[in-house]
Symmetry: C2
Subunit: 135 residues, 2 copies
């Protein structure tokens, strides 16, 4: 049975549920950063998903990319599945600005996470929920 990995749960906020994935917001105010977690048990690699699930993941990744573009007008979207630390398959969609503190390097392993103030994360999750609904 699918259960969100405790480390992912601790580092992120719930945004919404899509057909395949839970959408979470990374608690790091340096980057608008969504994490899509397919609700499939015991999967660690994208290529372990069924073809149908892979194709749904692409649809949901595109949705998340468009939501972040609308929300923060980034210079670039980075998408990735790494999983070197938390093995449960999770898909990063990160809005990057050329002015952000890790540009042009990747966000993973760059500096320290900067958690949102509580009211800011609540407001951002609500704004993102509305965009996922409308996009």
């Amino acid at each position: 049975m699918f259960q969100l990995h405790p480390r992912l749960e601790a580092d992120t906020f719930s945004v919404c549920q899509l057909t395949l994935c839970e959408v979470r917001l990374m608690d790091d105010q340096r980057f608008p950063w969504l994490i899509l977690v397919p609700r499939r048990a015991d999967i660690t690699e994208v290529h372990q998903l069924s073809l149908e699930d892979q194709q749904q993941l692409m649809i949901e990744s595109t949705l998340a990319s468009k939501v972040l573009e609308q929300q923060s007008q980034p210079d670039k979207i980075n998408v990735a599945a790494l999983g070197n630390v938390v093995s449960q398959l999770h898909w990063h969609v990160v809005a990057r600005q050329q002015s952000d503190s890790c540009w042009p390097g990747p966000v993973w392993g760059c500096g320290e996470r900067q958690p949102y103030p509580e009211d800011a994360s609540t407001a951002l999750c609500s704004a993102l929920q509305r965009r996922f609904h409308d996009v």
Copy 2:
């Protein structure tokens, strides 16, 4: 018209052509590292591809992941589209070992690229070509 970006051409070797993508081997012997470049002009983001092309990219990414698993029995496959340095859309498929010099961090921005000796890259490209043919 699609033309491979000169920086990608300089840093990689040709492996084969798939339906959508050129498959290239990154010239870095630290990691078995494939780069898939969709033959589509003026595309910088995965979500700019048509739905059909996105789904083909997933099929070819899975193929590349399985080829790398057969070739090098990695602990993990990392897949990503970053494009912060070279904007032409290119898809990384990287075989990672827990013993590699960047683990558990990402390969991008980690240390210096270590080019293959010429005979090693030729032999590896041939081996990979055979695996793409057979997989």
